[in-house]
């Protein structure tokens, strides 16, 4: 899977590249408008991470360019501006998702995962992970063909873990994923513990291996 990171902040681009590279993704970085437009014209990407404020141009113009060239690349806008107009405009021109800076890399990874899954969607939308089968359309989860009943939040968590395999996820990142912007307003995300405990119990009861590990002091990890 090829991902293009269009981001002028070098450190941030590097971090994204590093985090995503472990997940079967091949990442390329474009640091300005010119580089980005060249790469977009020549290659096809599964996903483009697009910063809106670029040296010598706007990310929105790159979106226009993609549209003109009738490209099917998935686009996630990552912007520090976090303005509603930009978001609406970006999504109208053809972006698939919008993520406001600052964000957790795990959130980005989960969004990419979900975007690529949607793009590849052909008839059925089923995720297979070891003994687990998730039907995203029917919202059903089966372990060894045995259906288990997850709450919406537990399903969200499960998908988030699967989108971030072998990654340590902080409680903050998990809370942000579940509660969105509102999580920013709290310091205490202990409720995550209860959801994870329930999820773990339901999965292990159905005979699923204990893949969710607690990492001391920091968070959780889906280890496969």
């Amino acid at each position: 899977m090829k991902i293009l990171i269009v981001e002028d902040e070098k450190e941030l681009a590097q971090d994204m590249e590093k985090y995503l590279s472990g997940e079967n993704y091949v990442c390329e970085v474009a640091a300005d408008f010119k580089q980005a437009s060249e790469k977009i014209s020549i290659y096809d990407y599964d996903c483009i991470l697009l910063d809106l404020m670029l040296p010598n141009g706007s990310g929105l113009d790159l979106l226009e360019l993609l549209k003109q060239q009738k490209k099917q690349d998935g686009v996630i806008i990552i912007s520090a501006k976090n303005s509603i107009e930009d978001k609406v405009k970006g999504l109208q021109i053809g972006a698939d998702d919008y993520l406001a800076k600052p964000f957790h890399l795990s959130e980005l990874s989960a969004r990419i995962h979900s975007l690529i899954r949607r793009k590849q969607f052909t008839g059925s939308n089923i995720i297979q992970q070891n003994e687990i089968t998730i039907d995203l359309l029917g919202k059903t989860v089966k372990v060894n063909n045995l259906e288990i009943n997850l709450t919406k939040k537990e399903l969200d968590l499960l998908l988030f873990f699967i989108g971030n395999k072998n990654r340590v996820l902080s409680k903050g990142a998990l809370a942000e994923h579940l509660s969105g912007d509102i999580a920013d307003m709290f310091d205490n995300h202990d409720f995550i513990y209860a959801h994870i405990k329930n999820l773990k119990k339901k999965l292990t009861d159905a005979g699923y291996g204990n893949y969710i590990k607690t990492i001391y002091g920091t968070g959780y990890k889906w280890e496969v």
């Binding site: 520090a80 976090n82 902080s170 903050g172 509102i182 920013d184 307003m185 205490n188």
Partner: protein, 430 residues
């Protein structure tokens, strides 16, 4: 404002006092003057009468015996004067004033008379002639003068008042116009004030100075706003880098327990910083009117949706929520802003609550009241100021209520805080 007086009253009072003193002083002065003229005229008159009487008697050419009878008869029938024989003449005429009871009046009726006693020679005999003329009593003169003076004083004061009022209506009109404009001026709307031209130099100068002051204020305010917006924008990127570095660092397999504790300790202030920055940006955006578009929103629905989002945080603190959503109200406003307003109130009620505490949500009569268990009342004046209740131990950004207030201001809603029976209570009247 009890002791406040308007300009007109202030001006009128000393003028009135001064006029009163002048008029009061004029009363004795007029009296003395009138009295002096009065006495002079009466003395002259008495003298003329005396001369005429003397002449009349002398022109009769009657004998001494008959004269004595005539004088006695004359003395009897008239009250103007009295003729008495004397041996020796006075050196000088005598004039004086006397007061006596009216003989023909039954009540007490004091009259004042001017008397002249002079020497007359009738048929070579020496006589004294006493002439008395009734004159106005002193107190009556004073009273009449006082009444007239008072009348004029009143006319003057009323005149002052009317004139002043008319003049001030006209003269101060530009000032009042300026005042009205100043009252309606609101820095946050950034609309400059244009004062009406006036041909009064002082007011024109005042207007120009105010114009300068306002323009300067708007410019400073704008600079400050732009600064805050730019500063928080600039902070977004380093914050994003920090956050991503943290995420990467967490992936390190060789982290010791001690290090991981430090890491999670860094996450807290980082989250707080992100929060403050986000809220500052939000405030700047609200002030910049970047949430202008409106739509119809069912408030109760939005309240329930917001509560749903917060369920995890509410149950984590084992808070009981009591809802009473009687009102069905559809507002036309910006959805994002209303969402922020409602969620900030709820978040506030959760963050500042105690374990096993309570939150009461009441929506009736167009008023949303959110109250939560608390210990001590907060300062009503400062509570909506930025960073006024910020403390390191709570998770707040110090901006949540400032944002609520700003949104309320935008739409002209009223927000109120009260503390009763250990409950903090915030109510927004839509």
């Amino acid at each position: 404002m009890g002791s406040m007086k308007n300009l007109l009253q202030k001006q009128l009072k000393p003028l009135t006092v001064f006029a009163f003193i002048v008029f009061a002083l004029s009363i004795p002065t007029y009296f003395l003057l009138v009295n002096w003229i009065w006495l002079k005229e009466l003395d002259e008159n008495n003298k003329l009468i005396a001369q005429r009487i003397e002449n009349e008697f002398n022109e009769q050419h009657i004998s001494e015996e008959k004269l004595a009878g005539s004088i006695a008869f004359w003395n009897d029938i008239q009250s103007v004067g009295k003729i008495e024989p004397v041996l020796k003449t006075f050196r000088k005429d005598s004039v004086y004033t006397i007061r006596k009871q009216n003989r023909y009046s039954k009540q007490e009726d004091i009259d004042q008379f001017r008397i002249l006693i002079t020497n007359v020679k009738i048929n070579n005999g020496n006589f004294t002639l006493t002439i008395e003329t009734n004159m106005e009593e002193n107190e009556e003169t004073v009273a009449y003068i006082a009444i007239v003076t008072l009348l004029f004083f009143l006319i003057l004061v009323v005149g002052f008042w009317v004139l002043n009022k008319r003049l001030s209506q006209k003269l101060w009109q530009p000032f009042r116009n300026t005042l009205e404009k100043l009252k309606s001026f609101d820095l946050t709307t950034q609309q400059t004030v244009s004062f009406d031209k006036t041909d009064i130099e002082e007011f024109e100068e005042l207007n120009q100075s105010l114009q300068k002051l306002i323009d300067k204020n708007i410019s400073v305010y704008n600079q400050q706003k732009t600064f805050i917006e730019n500063a928080s924008h600039e902070l977004q990127t380093p914050l994003a880098v920090l956050k991503s570095k943290m995420d990467l660092l967490l992936q390190n397999k060789n982290i010791t327990n001690e290090q991981s504790e430090i890491l999670s300790a860094i996450e807290l202030p980082l989250a707080r910083m992100t929060r403050i920055n986000k809220n500052l940006l939000l405030l700047a955006k609200i002030e910049n009117n970047q949430f202008a578009d409106k739509e119809n929103i069912e408030v109760t629905e939005l309240i329930n949706e917001t509560l749903e989002l917060l369920t995890d945080y509410i149950s984590a603190k084992q808070i009981t929520v009591n809802k009473n959503l009687a009102e069905t109200l559809t507002l036309t406003c910006n959805k994002t802003l209303l969402e922020i307003l409602i969620s900030n109130l709820f978040i506030n009620a959760i963050v500042h609550n105690v374990e096993n505490g309570k939150i009461n949500i009441d929506f009736s009569a167009k008023t949303l009241t959110v109250s939560n268990t608390g210990k001590t009342a907060l300062d009503n004046k400062k509570i909506f100021d930025r960073f006024s209740v910020s403390s390191s131990k709570t998770a707040n950004s110090g901006l949540g209520l400032a944002i609520v207030k700003e949104i309320c201001n935008r739409y002209g809603w009223h927000i109120n805080y009260s503390f009763e029976n250990n409950f903090h209570s915030f109510s927004v009247q839509f």
